[in-house]
């Protein structure tokens, strides 16, 4: 009984804020679009005193039939994967530096990693527009030095998109990696050195493999929000690049096709559960 009372609040919380929204999303995804507010018919109606099924799988079917959505999906996953990969490459030396720093230095260094979060998300992304646009700082410097005659088109490119993503999500990769490296028993690295391993071999055979769960956590923490990211691709990315976040936004607000938007959101959720499951299997392996 006590156990039940203790567990009830977290379960209730999960039910209310995780399970219920997903179920509502799934319900809208199975509904038929309609004119009116809200712009869909509930999938289960009430007729002559008993419930009747009036939904359809048409929206889900559209996702598989029209490769517009599949392409947006693949593009999003690729952008998210590249962002997460780049973040990890940059985060690893940072995390190693923080973990190897004197204990009194670690907290200030971690605070520096988190420093960008002290400004709003939009100003940080907007700052890149100022830096990268044709009349921006980067082009100004390049032209001022005489390196280029014409402004180089930097903004609205895949590169600008990746720069924005990496800048926004880098701390999410640094933090779990730092934690994993700090958890590592220094005696393990000493034992490897004692058995004849050079500093590089110690890193390759002990430090790196044992930091992999932290790297996987960092990858996912970047990959998952990056896959659904809407603001950064809209502001910095090439206009023709349709990512899932953008497509979702358009279906929802431009086309007012809530069932299709919901179906898309559910599909994204399912697609992201897969890497999480993989990560859990990696974690379970000691």
């Amino acid at each position: 009984m006590r156990r039940l009372l203790l567990l009830a609040p977290p379960w209730l919380w999960l039910l209310l804020f995780v399970a219920a929204p997903v179920l509502i999303l799934l319900a809208i995804g199975l509904a038929e679009p309609a004119e009116g507010v809200p712009p869909f018919l509930p999938p289960i109606g009430w007729e002559a005193g008993h419930p009747v099924w009036q939904g359809s799988g048409a929206s889900l079917a559209t996702l598989t039939e029209d490769d517009w959505y599949a392409l947006a999906f693949l593009r999003s996953l690729r952008v998210a994967g590249m962002s997460a990969g780049l973040c990890l490459l940059l985060a690893y030396p940072m995390a190693l530096g923080i973990a190897r720093a004197r204990p009194s230095r670690r907290l200030p260094l971690l605070l520096l990693v988190l420093l960008p979060f002290w400004t709003g998300f939009l100003p940080r992304v907007g700052a890149w527009i100022g830096l990268l646009r044709d009349g921006g700082w980067v082009n100004g410097v390049l032209m001022g030095l005489g390196l280029v005659q014409e402004p180089v088109p930097l903004l609205y490119s895949d590169a600008a998109l990746l720069i924005g993503m990496v800048h926004a999500y880098l701390p999410f990769a640094v933090l779990p990696l730092t934690a994993a490296l700090l958890r590592l028993d220094p005696a393990l690295e000493e034992a490897a050195a004692d058995l004849g391993a050079s500093p590089f071999t110690v890193f390759r055979t002990v430090t790196f493999p044992l930091s992999l769960p932290g790297a996987a956590a960092g990858f996912l923490l970047v990959f998952i929000p990056a896959a659904g990211e809407f603001v950064i691709p809209s502001l910095l990315g090439p206009p023709e690049a349709q990512l899932v976040g953008r497509v979702l936004w358009d279906e929802f607000f431009q086309n007012r096709d809530w069932p299709l938007a919901s179906a898309l959101a559910v599909a994204l959720l399912v697609a992201l559960i897969l890497p999480i499951r993989l990560f859990q299997r990696l974690e379970a392996k000691p």
Partner: protein, 356 residues
């Protein structure tokens, strides 16, 4: 004596304002089992880490077979270390843990397989090759750590509290095994421990460290029977310390104990000078009722407290001079109840004059 295997010359190490080692010199012979004994902060673990190369000395030299190791990084030193936490690689199997050092030497697969099998057989771990460290018991982990550090056949193995993480029941047996492995491999072992019984039982020579200095270095019996200083006498076997003054006749008068001591040899001090005498608790005998109190090496007092220790009783006796003596009585005897007056006596050989 032959050239020593390991030689420390005036090794000093500071950590900030604290001195871990203070001009320490020590020699270890080939194939010898040496125990470094001391309390926490005595510098014994620092000594191991200096020899392994994880710390650099502030002054002094460390020589192995006459070669100066001081500037060499750990992976270029031909010594091995067994860590207190064992430091087994959690992501590698038992086989790969033991093979780790051999792979770094670039040996062939067949040779590695043979040497690992041989090493695991020595500590009866055949069939465990595929297990991960977390699938082993504490005793098995200890044995994997031991052979992992021995498989490269180092001339010197450093052991940091090798039995420290084991249950009391497993310690003695594992200690005997450690001794057997040491004899079989003929490597020199330098073991750090805070457990005096472990040091006395396993080592050929025991080095007692006190505040970064060598208090005494010698075979276990010598340390136990002839401790040089108060610290060694107190640390090994918790001896009673009797403070006295040498009298004109060569006897040592101890007012705090209310007795006079006759040494088996002439006292190392002149008459009138102060001398501390160590007296082992198990060398003291309880006199029978009616037995006359000898004129020297005897004292009377009141039995204050008793504790049963299985193999014997530990008694605290308050002497007439005020000092309390620790006395170990054999278990078969039924001691008088606390509060009874008792008379104690001991042989002249039991009195050990100390240097400080």
């Amino acid at each position: 004596m032959a050239d020593p295997l390991l030689r420390l010359e005036g090794v000093t190490k500071h950590f900030g304002p604290t001195v871990a080692l203070d001009g320490l010199s020590l020699e270890v012979q080939r194939g010898e089992f040496v125990a470094l004994l001391g309390g926490s902060g005595s510098g014994k673990s620092t000594l191991l880490r200096l020899v392994a190369g994880f710390e650099a000395p502030d002054a002094g030299r460390i020589l192995l077979e006459g070669r100066d190791l001081t500037g060499l990084p750990p992976h270029q030193r031909p010594v091995s270390m067994m860590f207190q936490s064992y430091a087994l690689f959690p992501h590698l199997s038992v086989f790969d843990n033991v093979a780790y050092g051999l792979r770094r030497e670039g040996l062939g697969r067949a040779e590695i397989g043979r040497r690992v099998a041989e090493a695991l057989a020595m500590v009866r771990l055949q069939g465990m090759e595929r297990r991960k460290p977390h699938q082993l018991s504490g005793g098995q982990r200890q044995r994997v750590a031991l052979v992992r550090s021995l498989v490269k056949r180092p001339p010197l193995l450093l052991l940091d509290e090798p039995l420290g993480a084991l249950d009391a029941g497993l310690r003695e047996r594992t200690g005997f095994e450690l001794r057997a492995v040491q004899r079989a491999t003929r490597a020199a072992f330098v073991m750090v421990t805070h457990d005096q019984a472990e040091a006395l039982a396993l080592a050929d020579r025991v080095a007692v460290l006190e505040a970064g200095r060598l208090a005494q270095y010698g075979p276990p019996q010598e340390l136990y029977d002839r401790p040089a200083t108060r610290f060694v006498a107190g640390f090994l076997g918790a001896a009673n310390l009797l403070e006295g003054r040498v009298g004109p006749d060569g006897a040592v008068e101890c007012p705090s104990a209310g007795c006079s001591l006759r040494l088996s040899e002439p006292p190392p001090r002149r008459p009138g000078e102060a001398l501390t005498v160590a007296l082992r608790p198990e060398r003291i005998r309880l006199l029978d009722q009616g037995e006359a109190l000898p004129p020297a090496n005897a004292a009377s007092g009141v039995l204050r407290d008793l504790a049963y220790r299985g193999e014997g009783w530990v008694a605290l006796v308050a002497l007439s001079g005020g000092q309390v003596l620790r006395v170990v009585l054999p278990g078969v005897a039924s001691p008088p109840p606390p509060g009874s007056p008792v008379a104690l006596a001991w042989a002249a050989e039991a009195n050990i004059p100390l240097a400080d």
